[in-house]
Symmetry: C2
Subunit: 247 residues, 2 copies
């Protein structure tokens, strides 16, 4: 755990002092959270936007039958909380020790956006990026194979939580978190990881540190239209099969 928290501490993203959000930083409130601690509860009033600057957190919703659904993991640099809690059904909890969160009063942020078009534009950018990422995740969730889901998940984590080395993925979350994120049973997650290991696609440095031995194979499993956009492969596919596009 010592190594992990050290690597996380190294990945601390300083609150930017320039850029379009600089004016906003004056009104930020910084708070540190312990693992499992709630940053945002389901029925809290929606008065803030958040930016995570260190650690990791999960945004989860409770389903009717008591099932937990993890809607998103957030990593240093990510903004969240704008449209996220419209229905007030989500709560956000810290995953790692020393999760550092900056909180911005919503009405102040809105006012600043009204005055400064650059801020407004930057907020739009962030929102649009969120939409694009959510849609890619939707495609990922739509895959029915466990192998596809887990492979795509590892690739996504490899891109987003870039704490460890080039081919090493640090997973701050538990297997249960992964299961609730991918909408599958914990046992299946575990089994799939084991299978990937036996295929020598990945290797375990520790339980939560995974070495990607064969990234092309992983991308193959995840399907070419994975979480990351790869236009060339999509082009190739589009030429190969024309689904039902009429003139």
């Amino acid at each position: 755990m010592g190594t992990l928290s050290a690597s996380i501490r190294e990945s601390l993203q300083p609150i930017p002092r320039d850029g379009p959000f600089a004016a906003l930083e004056r009104f930020a409130t910084l708070t540190s959270y312990r693992p499992g601690e709630s940053i945002y509860r389901c029925n809290d009033s929606i008065e803030y936007w958040y930016r995570i600057s260190g650690g990791a957190a999960r945004a989860s919703a409770l389903s009717g039958d008591g099932r937990r659904h993890i809607v998103d993991f957030v990593f240093p640099g990510d903004l969240f909380g704008f449209g996220v809690f419209a229905g007030r059904q989500l709560c956000v909890e810290a995953i790692t020790a020393d999760t550092l969160i900056a909180r911005y009063p919503r009405h102040i942020a809105e006012s600043l956006a009204d005055c400064d078009p650059r801020i407004a534009r930057a907020i739009r950018e962030v929102a649009f990026d969120s939409i694009a990422r959510l849609q890619r995740r939707m495609v990922m969730l739509g895959r029915n194979s466990a192998l596809e889901k887990v492979s795509a998940f590892l690739l996504e984590m490899s891109d987003r939580s870039n704490a460890c080395g080039p081919h090493v993925v640090c997973l701050p979350m538990s297997r249960y978190d992964i299961a609730d994120y991918l909408a599958m049973a914990v046992e299946t997650v575990s089994r799939t990881l084991t299978e990937l290991r036996s295929r020598h696609t990945i290797a375990f440095r520790s339980v939560r540190q995974i070495h990607i031995c064969d990234r092309p194979a992983l991308e193959e499993f995840a399907g070419s239209l994975g979480v990351r956009g790869r236009s060339e492969s999509v082009d190739r596919l589009r030429s190969q099969l024309q689904p039902e596009a009429p003139g």
Copy 2:
């Protein structure tokens, strides 16, 4: 088909001449599309925002194995195309006859947003709503039961495509579209609808017009945290089971 297209024509949302988007309407280009026609192809350049004012359309992505994933259905009044096509992996196709689309040049919209904070704010609203809706859909997709997915889908359509009567849902899309939207096989969609009918939860007015006989039962199947937010039931659940929240 005559009845359907009539009911759709009645649901035509006129382009608003007032409100925050009024200034934008001067630059709108109106186009009508036939069923299956592409409004936006995968690799088109991203130069426009779109507003659908009549009919219905689907936004879909192609997966690596050739599978089609429908990321969203859009109905009259919906705006789309802002962050949607960041990865250029989505294409949008009309579903019904006389699908009417207004197209706004992106750079003009952005400029107007820069000048008028009300427009910028309105765009933010739309984007945030999209995010919230996408997250609710993510939870819906996460359900593993076919009954839950289809029930939640019917409730969502009942709320969004409010063309028909109070308890009647018009489904402009095919069973295949529904299957690709819910990430399940066509046959399972059909079987589940049949099961709901045999339970007397729904009834078929026609193949694409469904009468909801027992809405509470449908909501029960969909799980209380469905596509629509119901705080009270969530509260009840939260008090019943405390998943793993530490102090």
